[in-house]
Symmetry: C2
Subunit: 409 residues, 2 copies
């Protein structure tokens, strides 16, 4: 994605992205934290584990007691009481002594290693014979070896995965400061649109984009807020956008497919309070009529009414702005390039960025990217597709067999 | 993933996966459908678009009217009234006539093509001059060209993405049959465990796995149901598992790290109603003590108490069972191999499957996989890691520079 916005033709978009700030933070219970973005520095409050712990079923010993033990010349140790699971041993382990301990048990004072039960035999009579020596620290984990009190291991801007949640639970953190989910207002505009619940009369179409865009926003960790359908009326659109700007952190206006309607949307975007028009059309296909403004520091997008173009633009551009609003540090977003080979030549035009819909097929360890045929710019090409391949402005074709990076859709 | 379960050593796990059936279906409103798995055949109820539509701002014409038009010898057409956006043209377009139309407008009867406004001039007087000829069908999309009534384009077992949601909205489907989210019972067992909200006394630890596993279950589209902590008592564990089996679709028992506790968990799993033990330990690292049974057709896992091992086992195995329970057709799961190069040699042991934690670094278009150092089997190696590399049973090392597939974590 970085490479896409590094295109000089998209410099205004990249500059706007860099100025886009995260929304506020809030504190949520641990069970609501998975998938959220850490919003404050996290300092580990205690050592993990909190005590020296056995990694094996066996005996806690002093390593020096069994120095040189072998099958041929075992060392005999006197048995102490077993370490109770979840408890503390009654006595310290001294030289020549061993305390039975289970995996996860707390090492008794005095002990500095664990000998595995498999390397011992118990003839009875309160003793065991040990057949192997161990180094100090063997088969145990020391207090603080996993995480140390005061250590910083998770950073603001990182999405909390299951392992981070496990760490937080393990050290007793049951409330977490995370970035608020960015609220994204979705405004549909166009006299031809009716809600999906209605049967359109001839010449009208159901508003599909509002549903698709809401799905993309929510999947990306935002909160989609629908503002319904606004007719092709500048004052009505202006009023709706102002309300959406007040109530949300980013606004998507979708629709207005005709040149007149686009100009009309652009006019409204340009005069929003504290507004600034940043892009009025982009050299991309699909998505050419895309508009970008900011108003009071909040991004406002004029997306094409065309469903394919709107979804592609969200995936390759709007999503990055939403990630920033959600507090994600893009460098830490763990979004990895998916490598494939193009199985057919795709021509393009220099000076334009093309987003080619491809179907992926796995061949052994490799992926083949096959351009979706009949990609006439209808939404069916995205239903058939698994991803997008970007052809940059400097390139006039992707050749058969070329290595490409695929953006999943 | 397929390659992993194709390991002969995991044949019992693969057989169990194949026998794992999806849960029931339910009908949800469209706005709750994103990310859900389609649960019934979907037949497109109407043509999309429902009428011939213009793709450009321009004029609806009969292509035959402007045959041979060029800049030098333009063709003059008489203007009809403009096609109202979202409405129907008053009259059919006849030979030698043109009706102004905007992008998205419904082509009037008689018209079979659109000529772009850029290829015309309007001298006034109710006529336009056209400078270019177009073929029939040009700059328009025909009724049903995106999707045809009766067509099947989304299939049961597919996760519904934004584009599928858009298609459903566009054809007026506002309620969708999807598979129910599988409910997954999470049981923690061990005398040493306390809830994350408590301060453990010496020798006890907080139950982190329940939180991590719940995060993984929910992220995968399941519904985690917590059954709390059960002490090391066979009857209590049996009772809790029976309740979880009644109320959920799959059960994860986590904990019991000692050999005794594992045997005890295995004993409980083996005598569950209509139960069958399938795997008692697996040749994997981490995750060796993993247990798998089915009871009444529901998978029951005994996961290691060790946090790292539990999370790895979920990611590489349990997740596939959850996907199946959720109705996902694994061949259509769009899970693509992430290709990287190993930047350091990692030794392994033949006959064992190793899961190596790696950090990923992007270098240009390529990914480098660096084994997480100090991977002593503590959870910190997963916090530092971006993914897992699987070393199969037939392999005794991965060499520096080897191409590997990474499973994201």
């Amino acid at each position: 994605m970085k490479t896409l916005l590094n295109e000089p033709a998209l410099a205004a978009v990249l500059a706007a992205l860099k100025r886009t700030a995260p929304v506020d933070t809030e504190t949520v219970p641990l069970d609501q934290a998975p998938g959220r973005v850490l919003g404050a520095a996290f300092v580990c409050p205690e050592d993990l584990p909190a005590f020296d712990r056995s990694l094996m079923d066996g005996y806690a010993v002093q390593a020096a007691s069994i120095l040189g033990a072998t099958c041929e010349s075992p060392v005999c140790l006197k048995l102490d009481d077993a370490v109770p699971m979840g408890g503390r041993a009654g006595v310290a382990v001294g030289p020549g002594r061993a305390a039975p301990i289970a995996t996860g048990g707390a090492l008794p004072r005095g002990a500095d290693a664990v000998v595995r039960i498999e390397h011992t035999e118990a003839p009875g009579g309160g003793v065991i014979n040990v057949h192997r020596s161990v180094a100090a620290g063997c088969h145990m984990v020391k207090r603080g070896e996993d995480f140390q009190a005061g250590g910083q291991v998770i950073f603001p801007g990182q999405r909390l995965r299951a392992q981070e949640i496990g760490l937080l639970a393990a050290v007793g953190v049951t409330a977490v400061t995370v970035y608020k989910r960015a609220r994204v207002g979705i405004v549909s505009t166009g006299d031809e649109l009716v809600p999906a619940t209605e049967t359109p009369r001839h010449g009208r179409v159901r508003d599909a984009n509002a549903h698709s865009l809401a799905a993309l926003v929510n999947e990306a960790g935002g909160v989609a807020v629908s503002y319904g359908i606004v007719p092709d009326d500048a004052d009505a659109l202006y009023a709706c956008c102002c309300r959406a700007l007040c109530e949300t952190d980013m606004v998507l206006i979708s629709g207005g497919s005709s040149v007149g309607a686009r100009d009309h949307t652009a006019g409204v975007m340009a005069r929003l309070p504290d507004g600034c028009m940043l892009a009025h059309g982009l050299p991309v296909r699909p998505g050419k009529p895309t508009l970008l403004a900011t108003a009071g520091g909040k991004p406002v997008w004029g997306l094409p009414g065309h469903a394919l173009a709107a979804l592609v633009m969200f995936t390759v551009m709007v999503r990055l702005f939403l990630d920033r609003r959600n507090g994600i540090v893009l460098e830490k977003a763990r979004r990895w390039p998916l490598a494939a080979r193009m199985c057919r030549r795709v021509p393009s035009v220099r000076g334009r960025i093309d987003f080619v819909r491809v179907r992926l097929e796995q061949q052994g360890e490799n992926l083949l990217a096959e351009p979706v045929s009949g990609a006439s710019g209808l939404i069916n090409s995205l239903v058939k597709a698994d991803g997008l391949v970007v052809i940059g402005t400097e390139c006039d074709a992707i050749e058969t067999g070329a290595a490409v990076t695929v953006v999943p859709v």
